[in-house]
Each structure stands twice: as C-alpha cells, then as structure tokens.
Symmetry: C2
Subunit: 225 residues, 2 copies
C-alpha cells in the first residue's frame, strides 16, 4: 500500500491537518487542552472555526492527532535509541542524549506529554503498560546485564531507574526555560543544565567514569521561534 508521504522539511508547505496539529501542539503546550479554544487554533492557522471542524470532527480529535503525531515521531527515533543502547558498552551518553534531546529540542512536545500525564492518568498508564513497556523492559534488561558485569551499581533498581530517567528527561525538558532562570542569566546556563542532568543519569548508573567522551550532550538545538 502506498501512502502520501508527508514532507518533513521545515520550510515545506504543510497541508491543513498538519498546520492544525502544529498550531494545537503549540497552544496545548502553553495553555493546556482545556485552556485552549477552537477559536484560538483556528486563528493561528488562519481559518474560520467551522473550517477547522471540517478537518477534525471535534476538539477531542485534535488532541488525539497531536498525541498520535508525537507518539509516531517518537516511534521513529525509538529503534535508533534502542540500537544504541544494546549495540555496545559505553554508549550511555549517546542513548540518554538521544532521549533527552528529543524532548529538549522541542519543549512543546515535552510539555504536551507532561500535561497529558497530569490530565489523563488512565490513558497515560495504558500507554506505559502498552506500547512503551517493551522499550522500558529492554533497557532495563541492558542495565541488569551491566550490573552482572559490575559496570553498573549493584543497588540500581533497573526497572525503576529507567522509568525515572524517562520522566526526568521529559520533566526537565518541559520546564527548562523556567528552571534555567534559577541558575542565573546568560547563554551558558542552558548548557550547564543539560550537562548536569546527563551527569546525574550517568553517575547514578555507572560504577566508574566510562571511557566515553565527557558527558555533555550537545546544547539543545531549537526547532522553532
């Protein structure tokens, strides 16, 4: 079967559905689902409200489209992440960097996911026990084997560690622009913030400094605005 491929180039003209999803993602991230009106979405896309509802039968359908888009984006990067995790030792920086950067590069995605966890705990639970579970289990297995080889701390709770690191990455990315300001002003602050979360994740797992390059994921590259 053949699907119309959606061009991912940032400057390519997007179809109406994609423009609605992009606008809704931004607005949901900033104000939440309940705090966003269809009128605001329509205004941002440059359409009348009924025109938006021609493409999505209800506001709830827009929410689902936003979340599906994030989830499918993530599904694309998961295999790469997983491969990096299992292919060789000492690749922790790359793996964590990949995970963190996915959300840090576009804080709106992190904010939408964080809001979803707060707004709809049951759906989020389903997601964690469903499609996300195998990935968590796989990474936990990798950590367990690392424990057996004394590469990782013996008292790491592999499953709990993975869950915490995942939610740390999302939470840190979601509120980075807020909490970074507690570190003072200036451009270097965000780099310190990013470096420290990577260091925490890494040091709490490995028994000794790895042979990796020092744990600094590249500073987040911003996607828009």
């Amino acid at each position: 079967m053949l699907y119309q491929m959606v061009e991912a180039r940032d400057d390519a003209p997007l179809d109406v559905r994609s423009r609605v999803v992009a606008a809704a993602t931004r607005l949901f991230a900033a104000r939440g689902f309940e705090g966003t009106t269809l009128q605001e979405v329509a205004d941002e896309v440059g359409l009348a409200k009924p025109s938006v509802l021609h493409h999505f039968p209800s506001k709830e359908h827009i929410r689902e489209a936003v979340l599906d888009t994030i989830l499918s984006h993530w599904r694309d990067t998961l295999p790469r992440l997983f491969f990096a995790a299992t292919a060789s030792e000492g690749r922790f920086d790359a793996v964590f960097g990949e995970l963190y950067r996915f959300f840090a590069d576009d804080a709106d995605l992190a904010r939408v996911v964080a809001r979803e966890a707060l707004d709809r705990p049951d759906e989020t639970r389903r997601l964690l026990r469903g499609p996300v579970a195998p990935v968590l289990a796989a990474v936990a297995g990798y950590i367990e084997s690392g424990k057996a080889h004394q590469r990782h701390h013996a008292d790491v709770d592999a499953e709990a560690y993975v869950v915490h690191v995942l939610q740390f990455a999302i939470a840190a990315a979601a509120v980075a622009d807020v909490t970074c300001k507690a570190l003072g002003t200036g451009a270097a602050v965000r780099a310190r913030y990013d470096r420290e979360i990577a260091r925490i994740a890494k040091t709490s797992l490995f028994t000794a400094p790895t042979q990796d390059a020092p744990g600094d994921p590249k500073p987040a590259r911003r996607r828009r605005s």
Copy 2:
C-alpha cells in the same frame, strides 16, 4: 500581634475558606485551573456558586489562595530542611527524604505546582528567583563545600544539581501513581519507586556510599483518600 491559629488536625472542622481551598486544590490538581469550574468547587464544598464567590472575589483569587497555602506550608518545612542539610554530614537521606516526602505525601500539591510551572512560567520564574532562590543557593553552597572535602563528585554542578533534584522530586511525586504502574502491580512497587529516586539523587552526588542507613526514605504515608 495575634493571629487566629488554624488548627491543623485533620479531623477538625474547617472554616469555609479552608474548605474551598482544599476542594480547589484537589480539583486543580486533577483537572487543572482552566479545566475546573466554580460550580464544581461549589458542589464539592456543598455551597451554591455565589456563596463561594462571597468568600473569594474571583476564581483567580482561589488560585492564589491555593498556591499561597502550598507555599506557606512549604515555608514551614524549609527551615527544618535547611537545618538538616547544614547541621552535619551524611544527612542527605533525611534532607532529600524530607523534600520528597513533602510532595509524595500529598501528590495533589506536587500536581498543582507542576501545573503552575506549565501554566504560568513567568510567575514560576519569579518564585524561583525570589523566595526560593536563597534556599537553593544555601544547599548549593553545602554541596560546594562537600566537593572541597572530596565527599561529593568533583564534576557536580552544584547549582544545576539542586535545581534538578528539586524538580525531580516534584515531577516524580506528581506522576507517581501513573508511572508506578509501569513497574507492575503490587504494594512493593511504590517503595521501589521511592527508594530508586533517593538512590539516584544520592549516588549522583556522593563519591562513595555514605555511612547512612541504606537510602530508603520511608514509603510515603498518604494524607487522604
């Protein structure tokens, strides 16, 4: 000056304002400020909507009362926290446990704070640079001195570490009942979850296992329902 003391006993009858704040805290935590209506708050308190508005001139005033209550509760525990942090070495478990338990004991507080950070980044920034800043700086100073004595890892970014640990504790408490389910079912799961976040915070700071009792904050004691 003399103030009317508000009795903290859980079973003591509360005045109307306190009951409104308690109901609003629960509702704001679950649905967010925009997702909560004055009617729902009134219903939960058992009053008519205009009666609620007799005690608080607007919905916005209820939000402020909710946040003030959380902040002042926290101000009460901060001195204790700070004293524990600076009084002696090896008290990390107690300090982090205190911080984490404050939010873990009542996840609604963590959720309200998390939502506030997402909904009103500017206000949250002001809070971080204002009243919260001295506490962060003090703890960061304690960590710096620990680095000088080789008790803490040399590459810890003290200021960034403190900010991350704070937001980790809040985020972890806010979504604990969601993400714990990714660890399986059963009563022990939450204890593992709590123990692992304490271990991560501790291991990423200290150069070697401390002389403390193993890093397990008591399992969160639930305050209500």
